[in-house]
């Protein structure tokens, strides 16, 4: 046996997954409250004790960790045009596993600066202009940022012509220059920036957040948790040497505060008569819906779906839904636990959370009549041919209706313009191993992939 320990320092729970890489099997999992306020080791040690109770004493030969503790990796971005470099900056940050707490476009104002100071980002991503294009905006914004008395590092990934000047303007701050996120109109180049963000996360932020005090057992904290999940999903879709993947996929994690959606798919137009509009999106794309969550963001789900729809799906009266929602807002740790009313409500809420979050993630298509006949205009990713959906999150795991809920990620004739998957197999991550497998994949890709294929529960074809 060769045991490896994988740790996810989450915002609430520190989750441990023990894996035997020789047998390619999960030995056991355990979770304990994250204790980042006092000493992060308290929570970790408690988790280790729980794990030991389950699987006995195990010598771990290696140990890897990811973290979203202490607020995760908080980023603020500023670009020029919202749909172009503004969007590119957002895509780059989300794909790097960040929690984007502020998005700005055009020239920053005094008010913006006040808000930025208050939101206390871990990293600021400054972009704007294609290479050789507009320099005015990014230089103005660099000047403005320089006046802020805050010590967050700034990643500059805009018009290369202005990069040096930005560095000079920001003298005294930690500045990292990266290639432009949009070097030419409509061309994305976000990987170098993501790599830089991850490096800063490792070298600087982990320490600043008191996460570096973790026991000697740990080699290092490798990445933010969402980046680990994205890595796991890429591996599951594409496979690696010696082990094939399951093909293009969409993954949804419905949490208490947010809903994360990942798509590993090309998503470009299928037909000749379709014109693509807007920024091309990355093959591995992550979005986060901050207003869609089962407890802290429960109101966002009701607002997006409508009270009547939640009432219809749950079979509860609108008044009762209202009452229960108010109650859950105050008692965010409440779970159905057999209560039939809460089970019905959570079913409706989770279904709507998935529908809303995947709709926002997926691209759209519109019909236009031209002199040449019917033409289609697509923006965002076309996921209609994606055949695999991976779901996780408490509301999907602790229910018998997982597949029914997951089917709300699919294309619906009621929303014909939304390019969601037409038909897909559903895989359920019942043991929360996705982040752990992302970590494991850095060193043992084949093993991580085989374990995922084994551990994810297959739910057949959702129609």
């Amino acid at each position: 046996m060769k045991a490896v320990l994988l740790i996810d320092f989450g915002s609430t729970y520190t989750k441990l997954t023990a894996v035997d890489v020789e047998a390619e099997a999960v030995l056991g999992t355990a979770a304990a409250y994250t204790t980042v306020q006092t000493d992060i080791n308290d929570g970790l040690n408690k988790g280790l004790r729980l794990l030991e109770e389950k699987i006995g004493k195990v010598e771990f030969s290696e140990c890897f960790a990811c973290s979203s503790a202490a607020g995760g990796l908080r980023m603020v971005t500023s670009g020029l045009v919202p749909e172009l470099t503004g969007e590119a900056a957002k895509l780059a940050s989300l794909g790097a596993g960040a929690k984007v707490v502020g998005i700005y476009a055009f020239q920053l104002t005094e008010e913006d600066l006040e808000k930025i100071a208050k939101s206390k980002p871990d990293i600021f991503l400054l972009v704007g202009g294609t290479d050789g294009g507009n320099t005015e905006c990014i230089l103005h914004n660099a000047k403005m940022l320089a006046t802020l008395d805050a010590d967050f590092p700034v990643v500059v990934a805009g018009n290369r012509t202005a990069a040096r000047e930005c560095e000079k303007l920001l003298a005294g701050k930690q500045v990292y220059i990266c290639p432009n996120v949009m070097p030419k109109f409509g061309v994305l180049n976000i990987e170098p920036t993501q790599k830089q963000i991850r490096e800063i996360f490792l070298n600087r932020i982990i320490q600043a957040k008191g996460l570096s005090k973790v026991s000697d057992l740990l080699s290092d904290i490798m990445m933010p948790t969402p980046a680990a999940v994205l890595q796991a999903m890429e591996l599951l879709a594409q496979g690696c040497e010696g082990e094939s993947g399951i093909g293009e996929l969409v993954a949804v994690d419905v949490g208490g505060a947010t809903t994360d959606v990942y798509s590993i798919a090309d998503g470009m137009p299928e037909h000749m008569n379709t014109v693509y509009k807007g920024l091309p999106e990355p093959y591995a794309k992550r979005t986060v819906e901050g207003d869609i969550g089962m407890r802290y963001s429960i109101q966002g789900i009701v607002d997006a779906a409508g009270l009547d729809e939640v009432s219809r799906l749950s079979g509860l009266s609108p008044e009762r839904v209202g009452e229960l929602v108010e109650d859950l807002k105050c008692h965010t740790d409440k779970v159905p636990n057999g209560d039939p009313e809460l089970e019905k409500l959570d079913y409706a809420l989770a279904s709507m959370a998935i529908r809303e979050a995947v709709t926002r993630h997926a691209g759209t298509i519109e019909e236009t009549y031209t002199m040449m006949g019917l033409t289609y205009v697509q923006s965002g990713k076309n996921l209609t041919n994606v055949k695999q959906i991976v779901v996780t999150g408490g509301s999907l795991i602790h229910t018998k209706r997982t597949e029914e809920i997951a089917s709300y990620a699919l294309y619906s004739p009621a929303q014909p313009t939304s390019l969601r998957p037409k038909q897909a197999d559903v895989w359920v991550d019942r043991t929360y191993i996705l982040a752990a497998m992302g970590l494991l994949s850095s060193h043992y890709p084949q093993t991580a992939l085989r374990i995922m294929k084994k551990e994810l529960e297959y739910h057949g074809n959702s129609k």
Partner: protein, 144 residues
């Protein structure tokens, strides 16, 4: 990568117009003539021209229209450019920009009243447009 010694043009076919051939010819002709060209392709909205022109710090916007609805599609573009901070950016339009029996002088006058700097009738050779752009962008004597 863009070379800022070159003048930057944003080009595309406006509205619900899918005529792609002329657009490709213009792209090659302008590039050949030494311009840096941001080509938005077909079915371009006014907002897309403006967004691309802002990011690329364009020197001019060249609008094509082949399907006869150009006048409707082009209305308000100048005002939107002003609003977006692209004050005074040269706007050029060409193609089958209107339908029906009209003298081109009338058509040209209407487009100039809408804020376009130049309007070209059907069958204009790319060289003519290139010449006009050189003049508009004060490139006399330069190769491009």
């Amino acid at each position: 990568m863009q070379n800022r010694e070159k003048k930057v043009l944003v080009i595309g076919v406006i509205g619900a117009d899918v005529h792609a051939v002329g657009n490709k010819i213009l792209y090659h002709a302008f590039t050949e003539a030494g311009f840096e060209v941001v080509n938005l392709g077909v079915m371009v909205s006014q907002e897309e021209y403006i967004a691309a022109a802002i990011e690329s710090n364009a020197d001019a916007i060249v609008v094509s229209s082949l399907y006869g609805q150009g006048e409707l599609d082009c209305r308000g573009l100048r005002q939107k450019c002003d609003e977006a901070g692209l004050k005074g950016i040269p706007l050029v339009v060409g193609g089958n920009i209107v339908i029906g029996k009209q003298t081109f002088e009338d058509v040209e006058k209407r487009f100039k009243d809408m804020g376009f700097d130049r309007a070209f009738p059907p069958g204009t050779a790319p060289e003519t447009t290139i010449e006009a752009l050189r003049e508009l962008l004060h490139m006399d004597g330069e190769t491009a």
